[in-house]
Amino acid sequence: MWKRNNLPNETEPEKKENQGISPSLSENLSKLRILFKDNDSLKIREFRTKGKEPYLCAVVYLEALTDDTALSECIIKGIMNGQPTSPASPADDIYKNFCFEGDLALKDKYDDAVLEIVSGNSVVFVDGASKVLSADTKGWKSRSISEPEGEKSLRGPKEGFTEKLTDNIAMIERRLCTPDLKIKYMKIGRRSATKIAVCYLESLIIPEVLEELYKRLEKIDIDAVLESNYLEAHIADKGYTAFKTIGSTEKPDVVTGRMLEGRIAVLTNGTPEALTAPLIFIESFQASDDYYTHYFASNIGRLLRILCFFLTISIPAIYVALLTFHKQMMPANLTLSIITARQGVPFPVIFECISLLVVFEILRETALRVPSTVAQAFSIVGAIVVGNSAIEAKLVSVSMVIIVSLTSLTGLMIPRLSPAVLVYRTLFIILAGILGLYGYIIGIFIMFTNLLSLKSFGINFLSYMVRPNEYMLQDVYVRLPWQHITKRPGLFTHNITRQKKTK
């Protein structure tokens, strides 16, 4: 399904009616040569079949995207060795009798043929035929499967998605050997024609959610989709929030796990990451390790992640509030230690706090951008040398460095929430600096109001976290041993029985 909507944009090429294929080979080829003028990547190879009345053929392809061996062995060799049997419909004859290529299709529209060429397929034009043959002879190098850097796990599968859609689909199909698994392809992007795949387990999903997803995807009218985030922003319920309402993961096992709970996955060609919907807030604190390791360890990890979320947004704000408004609330000895450490620091606490957090963000961003060989040395220089020098120079206090380090460390535990953490942490610090703890509490109210107003495909974002329910006890704040997780979260599926109780 390729959307060919016209935008009222003057820069867009003028769209003509999708014409049929001309029976004249030379006419078709000359049209193509004009269309692909100045594109040296386009190759046209003319040849003919055997026999007394051979078919005149020409294969058109983009050199860089085509596997030469597949083209010559399966297409050219097959056609050249073929004996024509049905001169009235040569394209059908070749389709049925000549080619060894498995993924072969007949197209009868000119624009479809062009799209096949730009997608990397080889298109065979036959003289006298008003149809063309499109063969999947794509062939280009892709990255090998490796463990995703952002979602490392102690135990469990180490493979992660790559940029190649078919490889990613294969990783899912290998895990779900059931005809219940449905994969629907779409193309989005007027210029990029990016192939995306919508994957789900038919018996588990709620059909309305799938329908809504298709509706939102079909509405997208963009010139190119270079990464799945282009789609994420379009299909999310509310565009303007710091919290992500569409899930994403680089791991096929995680996608499979989510699909088994009734969620739908969207894979995008060229993106080593899958989107999953709907998303609820608690998913941000769940990791694949939680399900592969002993439940004690996984529960401690999960509770720590929840705690760290509140710590990372609250620690600097509470510190600023206590030190500027509520000094009497701190133990006396702690207050005295902090003041001793602050002796000689020329900046107010709030300025010191925000500037140190900005410096940390700069360090983090720089370490991310520089080559990995330099990054480690850079981190050490940044964190130790600069930090230590700043303390020596009395630009910042030791206690503030500890606070910011703790804030950053706890923030790294929940990378999926990093945009929200950054926004709300800063908001809280500013409010706490102006109004003290009262400001911090206002900030908390603002955050929870935002969280409570969010929905993901009509499902409340804070589902399962607020109102007690059966599933909450199985796999929300803590995960029970596998034999006790008998239910699926009922919000995403009508089929909630995951397994029968064995013990």
């Binding site: 030190l323 000094k327 207050t335 005295l336 230690s337 902090i338 003041i339 001793t340 000689g344």
Partner: protein, 409 residues
């Protein structure tokens, strides 16, 4: 439109709340304030009494040395507020009382009445009512605040720590906060107690040697530089009748005072064992006191039933706790010792100071209201002749980690 109005309404509500919450705009940088850790209140000597206010403030150094020192600054004034104003004028920064933990009242002030002081502390919004109140015996409050520290470089915090240790471990005196003292002297008995601190007698010589220096440094004493100065120690409790200091109880008596007034958490008691003519020490683990009141033949009688659980710490060598008869003897000896001493203390305090610091009047008021209302007017006289009975029930819960004699001589 409706949504915008809703958002505006909620925002307005949030902002309006700001005005109802006082204290939200008291932003102050920590560097712009001086941290007062303790407060001393004295009367100047001779002639008309002027207040001498001393504050111990944390002194921070801008060096690698991270230890916090303290110094004492003092100022005089006709009123407490005037003294405070003079203090603020003297110091380069504003005084911050949020972490002030101890208020030391000089003997002179205590004798003249502490109503003014408590009233001021109660009204002055920067002072905390949870501060410990202590009385400086035979010296000024300034002397206690300026004394040498044994470990903690801040004297006021050291005093607060001593109070906590005394209450929870050694059982000499219970820490009294400002609001507790206010409650006590506003109670029916109109009597209160506070711990008493003295300048350490062992350093009397040092004190005399340093007297000249102290006079010079009276208004600005750096503690760290006064390492050879006096120390201080907890010395019992002070008895207040109404708002005036009437007398003191020593360390030994104050243990019985805590036992009589149901204020003992844990403590150590050294008792005389008449059966062996020796002293022994016990650790009090738990203690509760029940006060009952009865009138027989028109004569009121108060019974103090003290129920105490102890563990034996130091016992005479010839006693073997494996023999049950010894247990009975020791139990009786300790019980008699406590009963007798509590009786003497209660009787003596009432007769000597006219002070009911044990809460007897309160109990009678609560348990026998009719009698109280009838005799309230003459109570001060009645209590002096009231019959007092003390009963002590001792439970011995072991003896350290062994019941054996460690040496068979």
């Amino acid at each position: 439109m409706k949504k915008t109005a809703k958002v505006l309404f909620v925002s307005a509500l949030l902002i309006l709340q700001l005005f109802s919450l006082s204290g939200c705009f008291d932003y102050s940088d920590v560097e712009s304030e001086m941290f007062v850790t303790g407060l001393g209140i004295d009367c100047t000597e001779g002639g008309e009494c002027k207040y001498l206010i001393s504050v111990e403030i944390a002194s921070f150094t801008n060096t690698r040395d991270s230890s916090v020192k303290s110094k004492v600054i003092s100022a005089e004034g006709d009123s407490l507020m005037e003294s405070f104003q003079s203090l603020i004028a003297k110091s380069s920064k504003m005084l911050y009382f949020g972490h002030c933990q101890t208020i030391v009242i000089g003997e002179n002030v205590a004798k003249q009445g502490i109503t003014n002081v408590l009233d001021f502390v109660f009204r002055y919004e920067f002072l905390r009512l949870s501060m410990f109140v202590i009385v400086a015996k035979d010296c000024k409050a300034l002397d206690i605040l300026s004394s040498k520290s044994d470990g903690n470089t801040i004297i006021s915090y050291e005093i607060a720590d001593t109070m906590k240790a005394s209450e929870n471990e050694i059982g000499i005196a219970k820490g009294t906060s400002v609001f507790e003292l206010l409650n006590q002297i506003n109670n029916i008995s109109k009597c209160g107690v506070t711990p008493v601190f003295v300048k350490d007698e062992n350093n009397k010589k040092n004190e005399n040697d340093k007297k000249g220096d102290n006079d010079e440094n009276k208004e600005n004493n750096e503690k760290g530089e006064n390492d050879e100065g006096n120390t201080h120690s907890l010395n019992g409790i002070a008895i207040f009748v109404k708002d005036r200091l009437k007398g003191y109880l020593g360390k030994n008596q104050s243990v019985f005072c805590l036992l009589a007034s149901d204020g003992m958490k844990k403590g150590v008691l050294t008792c005389y064992i008449p059966s062996h003519h020796q002293m022994m020490s016990v650790r009090i683990l738990r203690s509760s006191t029940d006060i009952s009141f009865d009138v027989s033949d028109g004569h009121p009688e108060i019974t103090l039933k003290i129920k105490t659980t102890v563990t034996l710490l130091e016992i005479p060598p010839e006693i073997s706790l494996k023999k049950p008869e010894y247990n009975v003897i020791i139990q009786k000896d300790i019980s008699d010792f406590i009963s007798e001493n509590v009786y003497i203390l209660v009787r003596d305090t009432i007769e000597r100071y006219g002070a009911d610091i044990f809460g007897l009047s309160d109990e009678i008021h609560k348990k026998n209201t009719d009698y109280w209302e009838e005799n309230q007017a003459d109570w001060d006289e009645i209590i002096k002749s009231i019959k007092i009975k003390t009963v002590c029930d001792i439970a011995i819960e072991g003896s350290g980690i062994t019941n054996d004699k460690i040496y068979e001589g």
